[in-house]
C-alpha cells in the first residue's frame, strides 16, 4: 500500500488498482473545521490536476484536484452528513473519492511521505 502526495496537499493511496483520494492531515489543519464537501459523480473522468471536489471550511473554500488522471469509481457519501470526518480522520473515514488511474505512471511523479513531509516542514 503506497500513499503519494501532491503539492496541493491531496493524497492518493493505492489499494490494488484503485486509488483512494483525500487531503492530508496538514491540509485539514490549515483549513480548519470543514463544513461542506462537494464530491464528483461516480463515472466522471478527470485529467491530472482537474478540479474534482470542493471543500468548504469556516475559513475558506478550496478546490481538490485530481492527483492523477482517471475515472471516479466511488465517492464517500458519508461526508454529506458528516463533513467533519475530513478533520477527524483525513486518511481514513474522511477519504473523498476513489479513482481508477488511466495512467499509473503518473503516480511516480507524486511525492512520497518523506518528500511531502519535507515540503510542509
Amino acid at each position: 500500500m503506497t500513499t503519494r502526495f501532491t503539492k496541493d496537499h491531496e493524497y492518493i493511496r493505492m489499494e490494488g488498482e484503485i486509488g483512494v483520494v483525500g487531503i492530508s492531515t496538514y491540509a485539514q489543519e490549515q483549513l480548519g473545521d470543514i463544513v461542506f464537501v462537494e464530491l464528483p459523480s461516480v463515472g466522471q473522468t478527470f485529467a491530472k490536476g482537474d478540479e474534482a471536489a470542493v471543500v468548504e471550511s469556516v475559513k475558506a473554500a478550496s478546490e481538490i484536484y485530481a492527483p492523477v488522471s482517471g475515472t471516479v469509481t466511488e465517492v464517500n457519501e458519508a461526508l454529506a452528513g458528516e463533513p467533519g470526518l475530513v478533520n477527524t480522520a483525513p486518511g481514513a473515514e474522511g477519504w473523498m473519492f476513489k479513482i481508477r488511474p488511466s495512467d499509473p505512471s503518473e503516480l511516480e511523479g507524486l511525492m512520497d511521505e518523506a518528500a511531502y513531509g519535507a515540503l510542509i516542514g
Binding site: 473545521d33 463544513v35 461542506f36 468548504e56 469556516v58 475559513k59 475558506a60 467533519g84
Partner: protein, 513 residues
C-alpha cells in the same frame, strides 16, 4: 397582546423572560415575545353571512407572532443596539471600505422628489431624477476615463457579472465565443472566480509573486487563443497597486482578451488614477464603498459598471439619452445584446447619496480622500510593523495593510482569536484569513474617515494585544469576546447544522434554558 385601534395595549401579553445585562438586553426572537392568539390590532367581531371568497378563504392559521407596534419597534431597536456599525465605532474591515456615510447624503436622499419617485412615473415628471443619473454617470466616466456606464447593477458582484456578460457578448459578436478561460490572480477578490464560473468560464489561476503583486510574465504564459480575458483587482487584496498593470492590459489585449478590473478598491485611487488610462475594459464601482452610501442594512448596495469603447455597444438597457431639452430612458433597442439586468433602473436612493458625496467633495476633494485613505493605512502599517509581521514588508501599501500571523507563532493564539479579542476593545475586527496568499491574514482598512486619535487608539490596542498574546495570556484570546452580547459562536455547528426556521417546541425549549 391585544391592543386597540390606535395600537395601545389593552391586555397583558405573554410573559417572556428577558435577561437584562445593564443596557444590553438579551433579545428573544419575535415569536418568543408575541403569541399567535392575538394580532397587532384587534378588530371587533363582525357578523358575516355568506363570504364571497369563492372558496379561497384562508383555512389555516397565519402563524405570525402577534405583537403590538411598540413591541415590534422595541424588538428591532434593541437588536440594532447589539450590532456593531460604522456609526458606533471604527470598522477596519479590509477591502470593504467602511467609510463614514455623511448625513448630508441622507438629507438629500430624503428630498421628496427623490424619495417618493416611482419607476413607472411618466418620464416628464422625473426629469430631476434623470438629471441626477446623468450627472452621476458623467462623474463616474470622468473619474475612470471610460466611454459608457451602466448604473443599474445592484451590488459589486452583480456589476462583475454584467461586465463579464458584456465581454462574453463582445467576443461572441466577433465570432470568438470559443474563448472559455478567464485568468484570475490569487490576489483577486473571491467574487471574481465565482463570476467567471457562473458564466460558464473555467478559471486559470495566476500565482502571486513574492512581493504580493502579479507578474506580467506569468500572465503572458497563461494567455492563449482560449482565453477570454483577465479579472484583476487593482489595488489588489494585499493592499498593493499592481505596478505592471499597463503591461498586463497590453498583453491581454494583444492576445485578443478583455481586461475586467475589480473596482472594489477604487477608494485608494479615486481622483488620482483613471483606470481607463491603465487599459481596463470594464470595472464595477461599489457606490457603497467608495462613494459613501450605506452597506447592507442601511440601504441597498449599488455597483455601476464603466465600459471601454470596445464594450460600450454591449451595455445593458435602460440607458439615458438627451431628447431636446430633457432626458429620456431608452428601454428598447433593436438587436441589443444584453437587455435588462434589473427590473427597473437601479438604486435611485444610492445615486442621490453618491452624487451628493461627489459634489460635496469636488474633484480635488475626492483625490484628497483617496490620499488620506492611503496615508491612514500607511500610518497603521508604520506603527505596527515592528511588532506585526507584514509579509510584503518594505513597500508602502495603498488603502489597506496586510499582516500575516507569524507574529503569533508559538503563542497558541490564532488570527481568529486575535480578531475576537479586538471586539472586547470596542473595534470591529479586521478582515481575517483573506487574501489566501498569506497565512492567517489580517487585512486592515481604516479609510480616510478616522482621525489621528482614533488611529492611535487602534494601534495602541493592537500593540497591547500583541504583547498580551506573546506574554502567554492566551485565555484572553481563546475565550474572547468576553464583553460582547454573545460570546464565541460555534461557527462550525452553525455551518454544519444551520437552523433556518424557528420551530415552536425547539424555540420555546431553548428560550427556557
Amino acid at each position: 397582546m391585544s391592543m386597540n385601534k390606535e395600537g395601545r395595549p389593552t391586555a397583558a401579553g405573554a410573559v417572556t423572560a428577558i435577561r437584562t445585562a445593564a443596557l444590553l438586553p438579551d433579545e428573544p426572537l419575535l415569536f418568543e415575545i408575541g403569541d399567535r392568539e392575538h394580532s397587532g390590532v384587534d378588530l371587533p367581531e363582525v357578523e358575516i353571512g355568506e363570504d364571497r371568497l369563492g372558496g379561497f378563504g384562508r383555512r389555516t392559521s397565519l402563524d405570525l407572532a402577534g405583537l403590538t407596534e411598540p413591541e415590534a419597534m422595541r424588538h428591532y431597536v434593541r437588536l440594532s443596539r447589539l450590532n456593531m456599525s460604522i456609526d458606533a465605532g471604527m470598522y477596519p474591515l479590509g477591502s470593504c471600505t467602511m467609510k463614514h456615510n455623511p448625513r448630508l447624503n441622507e438629507r438629500m436622499a430624503r428630498l421628496p422628489g427623490f424619495a417618493d419617485v416611482h419607476p413607472l412615473q411618466p418620464v416628464s415628471t422625473v426629469q430631476g431624477a434623470l438629471a441626477v443619473m446623468q450627472q452621476l454617470s458623467d462623474w463616474l466616466m470622468t473619474l475612470t476615463n471610460t466611454a459608457a456606464v451602466a448604473l443599474s447593477p445592484k451590488a459589486g458582484a452583480h456589476g462583475e457579472l454584467l461586465g463579464m456578460m458584456a465581454i462574453k457578448a463582445a467576443q461572441e459578436a466577433r465570432g470568438e465565443g470559443h474563448r472559455r478561460v478567464v485568468l484570475v490572480p490569487e490576489s483577486a477578490h473571491g467574487t471574481n472566480p465565482a463570476t467567471a464560473a457562473f458564466l460558464g468560464y473555467s478559471v486559470r489561476s495566476i500565482d502571486a509573486r513574492a512581493d504580493g503583486t502579479v507578474d506580467v510574465e506569468a500572465v503572458k504564459a497563461a494567455l492563449g487563443p482560449d482565453v477570454a480575458g483577465i479579472m484583476l483587482t487593482n489595488p489588489n487584496t494585499c493592499g498593493l497597486f499592481e505596478p505592471q498593470v499597463i503591461e498586463i492590459a497590453d498583453a491581454v489585449h494583444a492576445a485578443g482578451g478583455f481586461f475586467y478590473c475589480d473596482g472594489a478598491n477604487f477608494n485608494a485611487i479615486m481622483g488620482v488614477v483613471r483606470p481607463g488610462d491603465l487599459g481596463i475594459d470594464a470595472m464595477h464601482i461599489n457606490l457603497h464603498k467608495t462613494f459613501s452610501t450605506p452597506h447592507g442594512g442601511g440601504g441597498p448596495g449599488a455597483g455601476p459598471v464603466v465600459l471601454s469603447e470596445a464594450l460600450a455597444p454591449f451595455a445593458p438597457l435602460p440607458f439615458l439619452r438627451r431628447n431636446g431639452d430633457g432626458l429620456e430612458l431608452v428601454e428598447h433597442v433593436e438587436g441589443e445584446a444584453l437587455g435588462r439586468i434589473t427590473a427597473f433602473h437601479g438604486q435611485m436612493g444610492m445615486y442621490v447619496r453618491a452624487l451628493t458625496y461627489m459634489l460635496s467633495h469636488g474633484g480635488d476633494g475626492l483625490a484628497q480622500a483617496a490620499k488620506d485613505a492611503v496615508l491612514n493605512a500607511n500610518y497603521i502599517k508604520a506603527r505596527l510593523e515592528g511588532t506585526f509581521s507584514a509579509p510584503f514588508g518594505g513597500q508602502p501599501c495603498m488603502h489597506e495593510v496586510l499582516f500575516d500571523d507569524s507574529f503569533l507563532e508559538g503563542t497558541g493564539v490564532t488570527t481568529l482569536d486575535f480578531a475576537k479579542a479586538l471586539i472586547d476593545e470596542g473595534f470591529h475586527p479586521m478582515t481575517m484569513y483573506f487574501p489566501l496568499v498569506v497565512h492567517g491574514a489580517m487585512l486592515i482598512e481604516p479609510t480616510e474617515s478616522e482621525s489621528l486619535q482614533t488611529l492611535d487608539r487602534f494601534c495602541d490596542v493592537m500593540l497591547e494585544l500583541a504583547s498580551a498574546a506573546r506574554a502567554g495570556d492566551a485565555e484572553r484570546f481563546t475565550a474572547a469576546p468576553h464583553a460582547a452580547p454573545r460570546r464565541r459562536l460555534d461557527e462550525t455547528r452553525a455551518a454544519r447544522q444551520p437552523v433556518l426556521k424557528w420551530e415552536e417546541a425547539e424555540g420555546r425549549a431553548e428560550a427556557a434554558e
